[in-house]
């Protein structure tokens, strides 16, 4: 049962590969390797931050790091993913923009992986497409399917944007954050989702192209 998460990861990786094939423009060399490397680094970093937040010392319990299902800090994972990808693709100016649609599609695959995990459901709903947990009468929103669908559409929208520096990357961050923010109300939660981080993601994503073209930004001296 523990390995159902692996199927979700493989679904994400397969959609990342597919996204890079259907949106290949300006994609840097070894893009899939770089995406997967950034993803794994982000998972580990997010897991470490979550462990510390839960009061578990990673130094005295290093084995807990691999228990991803124990919790991953979304914000830390997102920051480390972006930083790792930016660092590994630093020689290619448009790299973040080029891989942005595939990244959003990969995240759609991760959420669609709920099918393998049997964990697609959220809050109670009477809508005709809602379904129930085994043995339950209460039908529920398939919130992870909503999220996967919205992200897949978001990936397509991002792929249609122009090549202004960080426009696609920023839009990808804004789309991912907005989709998570909008679906969060349909997810029963114990700790409350990282709402503030999702709002920050939307804002940062929207202003990213402006920052890129600011006098001190990376696009100031060599506009695209």
């Amino acid at each position: 049962m523990e390995f159902t998460l692996l199927w979700a990861v493989l679904t994400a990786a397969a959609l990342a590969w597919f996204g890079l094939r259907i949106w290949p423009e300006r994609v840097p060399a070894h893009a899939l390797d770089r995406l997967l490397g950034a993803g794994i680094t982000a998972l580990v970093a997010g897991r470490l931050v979550a462990m510390i937040a839960q009061g578990v010392n990673p130094l005295t319990a290093p084995g807990d790091i691999i228990v991803i299902r124990g919790g991953v800090s979304t914000a830390a994972a997102a920051l480390v993913f972006i930083a790792t990808l930016a660092w590994t693709t630093r020689s290619a100016r448009d790299a973040l923009d080029a891989v942005a649609p595939a990244t959003v599609l990969a995240l759609a695959g991760w959420h669609a992986g709920c099918v393998w995990r049997g964990a697609c459901l959220g809050s109670v709903s009477d809508l005709p497409w809602a379904w129930a947990l085994p043995g339950s009468q209460a039908t529920r929103h398939p919130v992870e399917i909503y999220t996967a669908t919205a992200l897949a559409l978001g990936a397509w929208v991002v792929s249609r944007l122009g090549w202004r520096l960080w426009a696609r990357a920023g839009a990808a961050l804004a789309v991912i954050s907005a989709v998570r923010l909008l679906t969060e109300t349909l997810r029963p939660s114990i700790t409350g989702g990282p709402i503030a981080w999702y709002i920050a993601g939307v804002v940062i994503g929207l202003i990213a192209p402006l920052v890129a073209r600011a006098p001190w930004g990376p696009g100031a001296r060599a506009p695209t």
């Binding site: 009061g55 807990d64 919790g71 964990a119 109670v124 114990i190």
Partner: protein, 148 residues
């Protein structure tokens, strides 16, 4: 029969031994409950159990007034169990099941396992392995609706 673990302290040596229980006694215990129950099977040697312990603690704080939380420590030593409880401060009822008869009775495999019971002990769902926050929250929401 049950103990409520108090403030975590040191290696847990100041805690009382966990009470032992048979499958029949445990079934009777659940049957007597007027509210739904979440039963978590854990062990001090179980690495994934350590990962889900903080989440269970938060879930207990959030749902403890509506749902009975019970821990079953399996294939363990009393000293190990008390050290684990002291480390994580799991402030709900725990039983000691050295021979693993309770999870065997209800049909889960491996450790950890989380069982969800309707009021009066009807088994609704079994989650084998580490439980994530959303799965736990949805299942808690579901059992509380049965309990209403």
């Amino acid at each position: 029969m049950a103990i409520a673990c108090g403030e975590p302290a040191g290696d847990g040596s100041d805690l009382a031994d966990l009470p032992e229980i048979t499958a029949e006694e445990f079934a009777a215990h659940l049957e007597a409950l007027e509210r739904p129950a979440v039963v978590n099977v854990w062990a001090s040697w179980c690495m994934p159990c350590r990962s889900e312990a903080p989440l269970l603690n938060r879930a207990h704080a959030e749902y403890g007034d509506r749902v009975e939380f019970i821990g079953i420590d399996v294939q363990d030593s009393q000293a190990g169990a008390k050290q684990f409880l002291a480390e994580f401060g799991l402030e709900f009822t725990h039983f000691f099941d050295r021979d693993r008869v309770i999870p065997n009775h209800y049909g889960g495999f491996g450790t950890p396992i989380t069982f969800f019971f309707a009021p009066h002990g009807e088994l609704m769902r079994t989650h084998n392995g580490v439980i994530d926050e959303q799965t736990l929250a949805v299942n808690l929401d579901d059992v509380t609706r049965v309990g209403q």
